[in-house]
Structures are given as C-alpha cells and as structure tokens.
C-alpha cells in the first residue's frame, strides 16, 4: 500500500486496517521531551523550600514511604501549589491556543473574550470594595467576573449568528471597559488593599492549597478533552469561514464550542492563580515555532504551559529568597525572551 500522496515533511502515516492517522513526528518528539522536563521540574519544585527534600525523598513519599513530617509538608503544602501551577499553566496555554486559532490572530489571547479583564474586575472589586481576604472569596469573585463578562460579550456579539471578527472587536471594547472600571477601583484603594490587589493581578501561586486545586482539576478533566474535540472544527476553520461552511461544518455550533471551552479554561485558571496573562499569548506561539505547522498545537501548548508556570514558580521562590515574586512576573521574564529568540532565529515562515 503506497502512501506517497500523503507524504508530508515531518509527518508519518500510521495505518491499522481501515484506520489511518497522520502523525506529526516533530510535534510528538517535542511534546514528550517537554513532558519529561515538566516532571523533572515538578519534582525539584516540590522538594524546594524551608525544609528541602531530595528527589529521592520525594520518590519515597510518592510511593507511600517517608516520615510523617515529610509526608505532611509534601502532600499538604507543596504538592497543591505545584499542581495548581501545572494545571493553571496548561489551561491558560490551551485557552490561548484556541483563541489564537479561532481569531486567526497571534495577538488574540483570552482577553478578547473578556475573561481575564472580567476576572480582574471581579477580584479587585472583592479585595478593594468588599474587603474580601479569604482564600475562597477572591477566586470565586474572579470566576464570577470571568464567566459573567464572557457570557455578556458572547451575547452582545450575537446577531443572527456569531461572526469571529465582530466577537473580537466587541471583546476588545468590553475588555477596555472592564479595565477602566478596574483602574477606577484601584484609584480608590487603600495602600494595603492596593498591594494585595497588585499581587493578585500579577498572577501568584503563593498559599495555594487543595481547595484551589480540586475545582481546577475537575474543570480540566472535562475541558481538556472538550478542547481536543473542538480543534477538529478549528482545523477546518483556518481555511476561512466560507470554506468551512462549504465543507459541511456547522459553523455556529463549532464557534460556540470553541468560545465556551476557551473561556471556561481561562476562567478556571485565572480564578485559582490570577491572570498570568503572558502564558496564554506566549506559550502557543512558542509551541507553534517548536513544532512547526500553521496553528498552535494543543497538546504541546498544554505541556509547555505547565512547564513554564511551574518552572517559573520555582525560580520566583529562588531569585529573591526568602521572599518571592508573583509567578506571573517571572513567566513574562522567562517566556518572552525565549519567544523573541525563536522569532529571531526563525528558520521557517509560520503564520498565526
């Protein structure tokens, strides 16, 4: 059986009887390497702290051994923080990959769906006007803000159907409105609230425990498979809306699916870790350039997002120890120079 017609550079065709699949070899290799790096960084991250633990100790605890203190510190204090970073990073990166492909625009991050600005407006309102300090209240306010603004923007953009261009422009306007409201609240803030709000706005993993991880994990369990499902539609959408319609895609349903999944992913991540904005923009572009192709790869984006956030959180705790920086600042300091370097040595032209 010849497969000459299907031979693309960097792609292998796997066949098993009537089933065949095109496997992007480069994407698989890059993704597996990134996954291994993520595990390694994760182990280092849980070992790091006032009570340092070697990877060996971490392994003992993971397999049921270790002393009671070691188990407590690792499982109740360090692991939730690292897991929160892994999950939030993956969620943001996938949300970014979806919005960039959907809008066919490399600048389109979940901001254009109003999620990030909505979450910030919600959280800042809770901190400054509501005096909320709890570990549950602020994330809840952020989640409410994110989902509410995404829903309102989608409804505003609906006019006998959703048009991608109109949705992006309306998201842009609404995002600025929410940002204006947030600045207005900040102008009224007391010094203490201002600092707390500023740390949350930078994206931080400090003090994250299982109450943050569980809802995020549950959300991702549903949303990540859903994201993979909607990419099938996106693959067709990249040829333009008319072509997609011509190919029999139920455009409105597909677009609704993409928008809902992207908004929900970003909302879940931002509610638990704050708006670590750069991940959603930077990671899909890095994954795209490392894997090749014409649109950001989803699985690779998820892995790179997790790696970037956890790696940067580790750095954030090392650089100015014993104090720490909000992780969102470090992701920008590490992720954007890497993207710029990739841009500079650009060996092949990529779009979107």
């Amino acid at each position: 059986m010849s497969s000459t017609l299907l031979e693309l550079p960097g792609r292998r065709v796997l066949r098993a009887g009537p089933v065949s699949a095109v496997v992007p070899v480069r994407t698989v290799v890059v993704t597996v390497l990134a996954l291994l790096a993520t595990v390694a960084v994760g182990v280092l991250a849980v070992g790091r702290g006032d009570f340092p633990m070697t990877p060996q100790t971490v392994w003992e605890v993971a397999t049921g051994g270790g002393t009671r203190i070691e188990r407590h510190i690792l499982l109740n204090l360090r692991l939730p923080r690292v897991l929160c970073g892994l999950l939030a990073g993956a969620a943001l990166a996938v949300a970014g990959a979806l919005t960039q492909t959907f809008a066919r625009n490399p600048l389109a991050s979940p901001d254009v769906l109003g999620v990030t600005f909505g979450a910030s407006a919600g959280a800042v309102t809770a901190i400054v006007l509501g005096g909320v300090t709890g570990a549950v209240g602020v994330p809840l306010a952020a989640l409410a803000g994110a989902l509410l603004s995404a829903a309102v923007i989608y409804l505003l953009a609906w006019r006998q159907g959703i048009d991608g261009y109109r949705l992006v422009l309306i998201g842009l306007g609404a995002g600025q409105l929410l940002a204006g409201y947030t600045s207005w609240v900040l102008l009224r803030a007391e010094q203490v609230d201002l600092t707390r709000a500023n740390i949350w706005l930078s994206g931080s993993l400090a003090g994250r425990d299982w109450t943050h991880v569980r809802p995020l994990a549950a959300a991702l369990l549903v949303l990540l498979p859903a994201a993979l499902a909607v990419t099938v539609a996106l693959r067709v959408l990249q040829f333009g809306e008319d072509t997609a319609r011509g190919l029999g895609l139920r455009l409105q349903t597909a677009q609704l699916g993409v928008v809902v999944v992207a908004a929900a992913l970003a909302a879940a991540a931002v509610a638990s870790a704050g708006p670590i904005e750069f991940v959603a923009f930077v990671v899909p572009q890095i994954a795209l350039r490392l894997c090749g192709g014409s649109r950001p790869p989803l699985v690779a984006s998820a892995v790179f997002g997790a790696l970037l956030v956890v790696g940067c959180d580790l750095l954030a705790r090392i650089v100015i120890a014993p104090a720490e920086l909000p992780v969102g600042l470090v992701t920008a300091m590490v992720g954007t120079p890497y993207l710029l370097w990739l841009l500079l040595r650009r060996s092949r032209r990529t779009s979107a």
Binding site: G180, Y181, T195, N198, S202, G328, L339
Partner: protein, 341 residues
C-alpha cells in the same frame, strides 16, 4: 438601521463632506472643553477670552485652566488617532493599538523608574523619562521585529511588540510590588488624564507630534500599497523596509509623545481607526486624517464628560474613555458592518 444606512449610502464621493463634518465636530469639542467644567462659561465669554482676553474670571478660567488641557487634548487626540490607523495598517491587525510597539510599556517603565529611584513626583517631571522609555522600547521592538530574513513583516512586528511589552510590563510590576509608595503615585499617571498639565507640556510635545503627523501623511500611499501584500507592493516599486521604518517612526513619535504627556490613553488609538474605516473605507490617505480628527473629538469629549459627571471633582480621561467609549463602540460594532483589514 439609520446610522448604518446613512454610512453605507455615503459612498466614497462624499468624503470632503464627511471631512467637514469631522472638523466641525472637533471644533465643537474644543469649545465644549473650553466652556464646560466646575464653572460653566458662556460661549460668548469663551469667544471673548480667545480673541480679546480681559481681566474677567471667565477669561482666567478659559486661558489659564482649560486652555492648556484643551490644547494638549487636541495634540494627543490627533496623535493617538493617526498612530492607531498607522499601527493597524502596518501590522494588518485589528487588535493592534499604538501601544503595541512597546510605547506604553516603555513609557510606563520610564515613569516608574523616575518615581521609584529618582523621587520625581510631578507629571511634568516624568515626561522625558516616559518619552525616553517609549523611544528605547520601540526601537528595540522594531529591531527585533525586523531582524529576520524577510525584514519587518506584519506578524513579526506584532509578535515582537506584544512580547517585549509583556516583558517590560513585568519589570514595571516588579518595581511596583516592591515599592507601594511608587504604586500610589503611578496609578494616577497610568489611567491617562489631561488634568494637571500646563502649557509647557503642550509646547514640549508639540514638535514631536507635528513631525509624526507629517511622516504619517507621507507614509500613507506606501501603506496602501503594502496593504495589497508585500509582493504586490514590491512589484509596484515600493521600498518595503523604508516604508515600514517610516511608519513605525511616525507611530513612535506620535504615540510616544502623547503617552508621555497624558499617560497611556490606549483606547482612543484602538477604536478610532475602526470608526474612521466605516466612514471612509481602507484608503490610508483618507483614513489617517479622519482618524486624527476623530481622535481629537473623542479625547476632548471624554475629558469634558469626566469634568461634568463628578463635579466639582473629576473623573480621569482614560476611565471615561473606556467606560463611555466602550459601550458606544460595542453598539456601533453591532449595528454596522465593520471594514475588515
């Protein structure tokens, strides 16, 4: 549908008529800006204060207080509107704003450094730090965005701009989180406002803005050719690298000076070109002046609104722009078929 109907029926022949309408709108905005505020000045007294200043209170209010911020509003409105049209044209990206080249992020970092490390606390003191930061950041973005083998392309310019902006913003935030006192001062600059600036500020930024406007006008035919695709533009005899450099230089002069003077009024540069394109279509020779004029009206009307709603206090121009401008923009996007880039 009346607005949509009127706009689609205008066709390209009535552009001079639209130009007259926009000029009139800008003049009305200037008069409102001079006349309205904590104390209302009668239009006749405004006129008196302009042509034949006397010693009355009205003259003092118009010439000393509202004059400078109105002049600054006109300059920055022109600058941001034109810069927005140039930026969206050169990156072929409807989400692009004049801050994309690193202008806002660079200016912010410059201002924060001035407050945190040099103890400068007045608007006038920041200007040159903001401008220097904007210039340095934009040059870096342009160098990074054009270093590839294909020179500056829309995608690399946009990506380099966004990436470097993110990086600079994280430096700014790091300084702010370590210096709560700096944040207390900085938050008033970063919302963008025309208040508290004197005539000196306007005179200082005016040469840069005028130079930027001239450069923008010169750049507009080349931008039209680039809009057809770089290969077509090359075939038409355009020097692409030169055209992009001129365009970027114009954006840097316009947006850099405006941002340094009044803070990052991002929204004006972002939405104005979309409004102008609805009226005039994608021809940059018309789009750039239309955007500049609309920018003036938008910035001044937002400033006046901010003075009126919270009398005798006032709401910052940037906040009014976002809170009043955004719903208007959303309404327009829903009603009218936007011209795509």
């Amino acid at each position: 549908m009346t607005v949509a109907g009127t706009l689609t029926r205008t066709g390209r022949g009535s552009r001079p008529a639209w130009l007259a309408v926009l000029v009139l709108l800008a003049v009305v905005a200037v008069l409102l800006s001079l006349g309205l505020g904590a104390q209302t000045v009668h239009p006749a007294d405004v006129w008196q204060a302009i042509v034949d200043p006397d010693t009355s209170d009205a003259t003092a209010v118009v010439r000393e207080l509202r004059g400078p911020r109105t002049v600054l509003g006109v300059l920055c409105g022109l600058a941001l509107g034109a810069a927005g049209a140039l930026m969206q044209g050169h990156t072929r990206n409807p989400i692009a704003d004049p801050g994309l080249l690193g202008v806002s992020a660079g200016a912010s970092l410059g201002v924060v450094v001035a407050i945190a490390f040099l103890g400068i606390g007045t608007f006038h003191g920041y200007i040159w730090f903001g401008f220097a930061g904007a210039l340095a950041a934009s040059v870096l973005v342009f160098a990074l965005g054009s270093a590839g083998s294909h020179g500056p392309t829309p995608v690399t310019l946009a990506l380099a701009g966004m990436a470097l902006s993110a990086l600079l913003a994280s430096f700014t935030s790091s300084i702010l989180i370590g210096n709560p006192e700096t944040m207390s001062v900085f938050r008033f600059w970063v919302v963008g406002s025309l208040a508290g600036r004197d005539m000196t500020t306007a005179w200082e930024v005016a040469p840069f803005i005028l130079a930027g406007l001239v450069l923008a006008a010169v750049n507009s035919p080349a931008l039209n050719a680039l809009g057809l695709g770089e290969d077509v533009a090359r075939a038409l005899g355009q020097n692409i690298a030169l055209a992009r450099t001129a365009g970027v230089a114009a954006v840097v002069l316009l947006a850099g000076a405006a941002t340094a003077a009044v803070g990052p009024l991002v929204f004006a540069g972002l939405i104005v070109p979309h409004l102008a394109r609805v009226i005039t279509g994608p021809d940059h020779r018309w789009l750039i002046p239309f955007s500049a004029l609309l920018g003036v009206s938008l910035v001044l009307l937002a400033d006046v609104t901010g003075r009126m709603v919270a009398r005798p206090a006032e709401l910052q121009t940037g906040i009014v722009l976002a809170v009043v401008g955004a719903p208007f923009f959303i309404w327009l996007v829903r009603r009218i078929r936007m011209v795509r880039l």
